[in-house]
């Protein structure tokens, strides 16, 4: 099979990488105690079946719809306010962490100077710290500090998402052609001006689509945080689940579906406008 004519030098590395992936993944399944057998066990099946059968019809009485509307608005508000706060921190941090604004890199074929590299590390470290603690932990912390309600959710999203947005923004800035910005720096412009004329036009669409996607994630995250008392749809979901009100759960899930769909359409619309 591997005769001289048909030998591909990439075969052996590919085989080895596949083996390595399998070797690494197998313990993962073991450690996560994944056992698909429980899904087909008869008693859990009937339990799930009973719960799911209560989903139909979705709750649609007037009082619940009003409650649902209010919770939806609160969730949207938590996600949006959290994202806005996160952007306040993420934009300056991404500009600091990115090599795209380095003056020394413009004169050294893209390699920033020693001090610039050294100074970028603390910012990167801060971003790593911000996003390494899950938002649910921050939410639990803030629920203790500021009490039950949406404020805890907003703060938790702001902190975690500023870390994620800052890191990804910085990488997006570095991923595009740096020459336009370098040419501007070499003709005397300031760093921020060179960034907005040389890099921003190339990254705008990607930044926007990533931000909208993160906003969508923030909506979902705010739902999860509702379970620990941070308001919104999640809190409602928690209540309905505890009361085994399947119809209400179904209505809530449908609302999530519509929200994600809307976020997707918004992202498409914005991207279409920008390209």
């Amino acid at each position: 099979m591997l005769s001289r004519d048909t030998r591909d030098p990439a075969t052996r590395p590919r085989l080895l990488l596949t083996l390595l992936a399998l070797v690494l993944l197998w313990p993962g399944i073991h450690f996560s105690e994944l056992d698909l057998g429980v899904l087909v066990a008869s008693d859990s099946q009937s339990e799930i079946g009973k719960f799911v059968s209560a989903f139909w019809p979705p709750a649609h009485d007037e009082a619940f719809i009003e409650l649902l509307l209010q919770a939806t608005l609160q969730t949207l508000a938590i996600a949006t306010a959290g994202m806005a706060l996160a952007l306040l921190l993420a934009i300056p941090a991404s500009l600091l962490a990115s090599r795209a604004l380095s003056l020394s890199a413009a004169a050294r074929a893209g390699h920033p100077g020693f001090w610039g590299r050294l100074l970028r590390w603390p910012v990167r470290g801060l971003l790593i710290f911000l996003r390494s603690v899950p938002e649910i932990v921050w939410a639990l912390l803030f629920v203790r500090a500021v009490g039950l309600g949406p404020t805890a959710g907003v703060l938790a999203i702001a902190i975690t998402y500023s870390g994620m947005l800052g890191k990804v923004y910085a990488e997006i800035f570095e991923s595009v052609d740096q020459r336009p910005a370098h040419a501007l720096l070499q003709s005397g412009s300031g760093r921020l001006a060179a960034f907005s004329y040389g890099i921003l036009p190339n990254v705008a669409a990607e930044l926007l689509s990533y931000t909208v996607y993160r906003w969508e994630c923030a909506i979902r995250a705010s739902v999860v945080m509702g379970f620990v008392g941070a308001g919104g749809l999640g809190q409602q979901m928690d209540l309905s689940l505890r009361m085994f009100a399947g119809g209400e759960v179904a209505s809530l899930l449908l609302t999530f579906l519509v929200l994600v769909l809307l976020a997707d359409q918004l992202s498409r619309l914005l991207r279409w406008r920008l390209t």
Binding site: A107, H182, A183, L185, G188, G190, L192, A193, P201, N202
Partner: protein
């Protein structure tokens, strides 16, 4: 003395020695063409003069200042007085031509004005005038990605014309244009330099264009200056020596008739 190089050497990060012991003095309002075979160091020399690259050794004085002994802020101010035309102008594909041209003045504008100009072009007549001189006035609101290589080169030139620098450096400014357009564009550059007392240094592949438009010709080979003469003193023998190619012994490269350049970008 506007441009002053003393024993300047430059080695790129990948270890290639681009320039070696270059002495060069160019006075204000001079118009100089740099010619030489590919890889002779023409671009490196222009980038050095534009303070885009730092020389490995030797002394570099631009407009009376030692560029690499200034603070970063002062150097940016010096750079705003130097304009470099790139062979393949690095313009973001999605930027509008009007913005790309107005970006020439970023070194002179404050940050507030620069950002405002991004939202709404502040000097449309200025950009239109610069483009009209290069017969590109109708492309004012086109996107850069819609333009051809030659048109992009002219946008790059229009940007530097709009910048109105005291030293104008051009790295193969007409390499992607047809002969007629190349002729016209070079004469626009030379006339601009004469009218505004600008020092003009251009590297050119086409020897005929260099001899026709420039009074002083510098021949660069292997990172060293082979000759530095008035245009009428450059003869066939010198050019043959400049372009002699050891690897292509069987078919010597004729230097002169190489006018039309295939766009490289």
């Amino acid at each position: 003395m506007t441009l002053h190089l003393t024993q300047v050497s430059l080695t790129h990060a990948n270890g290639v020695r681009a320039l070696h012991g270059v002495d060069l003095h160019i006075s204000a309002r001079e118009q100089v063409a740099i010619i030489g075979p590919s890889g002779a160091g023409k671009s490196s020399l222009l980038n050095l003069l534009a303070t885009a690259l730092r020389p490995g050794s030797g002394e570099l004085q631009i407009l009376g200042e030692r560029a690499w002994q200034l603070s970063a802020r002062q150097r940016q101010r010096l750079r705003a007085r130097i304009g470099l035309i790139h062979q393949a102008p690095p313009l973001p594909p999605r930027q509008r031509v009007v913005t790309a041209v107005l970006a020439g003045k970023l070194g002179q504008w404050g940050l507030g004005k620069s950002l405002l100009n991004l939202l709404h072009p502040l000097d449309i007549p200025g950009a239109r005038a610069a483009l009209a001189r290069l017969d590109l006035g109708d492309k004012l609101f086109a996107h850069c990605q819609q333009l051809s290589g030659g048109q992009l080169q002219r946008v790059g030139i229009a940007r530097v014309l709009y910048q109105a620098p005291e030293v104008l450096l051009a790295d193969e400014p007409v390499s992607a244009m047809d002969p007629v357009l190349a002729e016209h564009t070079l004469s626009v550059l030379c006339r601009h330099a004469r009218e505004h007392n600008v020092t003009l240094v251009a590297s050119l592949h086409a020897v005929e264009l260099a001899l026709a438009h420039f009074s002083r010709i510098i021949g660069l080979r292997d990172g060293q200056i082979l000759f530095d003469l008035p245009a009428d003193a450059v003869d066939r023998e010198l050019l043959d020596k400049l372009y002699a190619n050891e690897q292509l012994q069987s078919s010597p490269v004729p230097p002169a008739p190489l006018v039309v350049q295939i766009p490289r970008c």
